[in-house]
């Protein structure tokens, strides 16, 4: 019994609590226009470049990833209505699974379409979990109990973390550092803001 409890996933140990969704809303990143030095490690391969994130006049968010010499790997649009548009993508990345993974990863950090009506708020080991049900699994936004710090963001099934992400050092609402780490295979994305 002890063994079972000790190994049970954190999502199973959470208890319902009360909280204020506004504590979470303040961590929604502001990307008027921001440029990030980007490092991607995927199953033993290292890729670096620049990621430009820009809020467009139609309220969509564009993300363009290019290498240092300027060649574009992808240009994605996260539309205001929740749709996702691929403006361009190199052939090697133009695979359904790759596009879906990148879309989910970036939607997790954009925090654009959080269904506040469906959120449940839980607590475990001094952390507050804002739980948003998704089509498959859940998105968890985790803060400390004071609500002053966004500890991490996670995409998970009922038991298992699939992706863990962080956003740190906000300057005027724009995070300086963003990290995305997959737990089921070796895939990490690291973003560090560049002052232009």
């Amino acid at each position: 019994m002890l063994f079972f409890f000790g190994c049970s996933p954190v999502y199973m140990q959470m208890k319902t609590t009360t909280g204020n969704i506004l504590d979470l809303a303040k961590f929604k990143p502001v990307f008027n226009v921001a440029l990030y030095k980007t490092e991607v490690d995927v199953v033993g391969n290292h890729l670096s470049g620049l990621l430009l994130i820009k809020k467009m006049p139609d309220s969509s968010t564009r993300m363009v990833f290019s290498n240092e010499m300027g060649f574009t790997f992808f240009d994605f649009g996260f539309m205001a209505d929740g749709n996702f548009k691929v403006y361009s993508v190199i052939k090697k990345m133009n695979k359904k699974a790759v596009l879906k993974t990148l879309r989910n990863d970036f939607e997790l950090i954009l925090m654009e379409h959080l269904d506040t009506a469906a959120v449940s708020i839980r607590i475990n080991k001094g952390l507050i979990y804002y739980v948003f049900p998704e089509t498959k699994g859940y998105n968890y936004y985790i803060t400390d109990t004071t609500g002053d710090n966004l500890v991490s963001m996670e995409r998970a099934s009922k038991r298992k973390t699939v992706v863990q992400a962080i956003m740190k050092n906000y300057i005027k609402g724009t995070p300086d550092t963003i990290g995305i780490s997959h737990k089921t295979f070796n895939f990490t994305i690291g973003l560090k803001r560049i002052e232009r």
């Binding site: 440029l35 290292h46 670096s48 620049l50 290019s66 240092e68 010499m69 300027g70 190199i90």
Partner: protein, 211 residues
């Protein structure tokens, strides 16, 4: 009527071809140009310069500007060091590529990566005047009073998927490279302009060593 239509179409195409690069007209004697280009660039042993790279994201109305230092030395040695707003080093040494990105160092064999080899070769071809020998591209040449524009259109599948064309502007006096512009299929483009050029300056081999 049909002949008239074909003639009209030809005229329109001819006009659009000539008007493709504002201020430039097609070089009338390309063979003569190639001979002069080859002879002049053979005299270039090394180039040391600064560069400014401007990536234009047309639909986003955004520009990403980066700056750095550039070195070229015969045969087939290139070092590009990005200094602002990020640090990034790339060394091309014949068929080897070295990349230092922050703390991470990466060695790539161009032989094992054909596309990288082709891109690697563009840069070297532009500098050492062998662009017309490259079978991966079809070349067209235009000129104005001071410069020549060499338009390189990819012929191979991999490059065709990446670039519409690569345009190299050279100084008509010494055929040294003024700028290289890479036009992508999305209509975005990246322009690398070389400034403060020192031709045939002493450049130590150590700058190109890949350990």
């Amino acid at each position: 009527m049909r002949r008239m239509f074909i003639a009209l179409l030809g005229m329109i195409l001819g006009i659009s071809l000539n008007a493709q690069y504002t201020g430039y007209s097609p070089v009338p004697d390309t063979a003569k140009f190639k001979t002069a280009f080859s002879a002049a660039t053979k005299k270039i042993v090394s180039i040391k310069s600064d560069f400014v790279q401007e990536k234009n994201l047309s639909l986003l109305s955004e520009k990403i500007i980066s700056k750095g230092r550039f070195w070229f030395k015969r045969e087939s040695l290139v070092r590009m060091e990005y200094i602002q707003p990020f640090q990034y080093l790339m060394i091309l040494n014949k068929d080897k590529i070295f990349i230092k990105d922050g703390q991470k160092e990466n060695k790539i064999s161009a032989r094992s990566n054909k596309l990288f080899q082709q891109i690697n070769r563009i840069m070297i071809d532009c500098m050492q005047g062998t662009a017309f020998n490259n079978p991966d591209f079809k070349a067209r040449i235009f000129e104005n009073k001071t410069n020549s524009l060499i338009e390189l259109t990819p012929l191979t599948k991999g490059l065709k998927e990446m670039f519409k064309s690569i345009n190299v502007i050279v100084d008509s006096r010494d055929f040294s490279v003024i700028s290289i512009e890479m036009l992508e299929l999305s209509n975005d483009n990246t322009l690398i302009r070389f400034t403060n050029k020192e031709m045939n300056a002493e450049i130590p081999d150590s700058l190109f060593i890949i350990r």
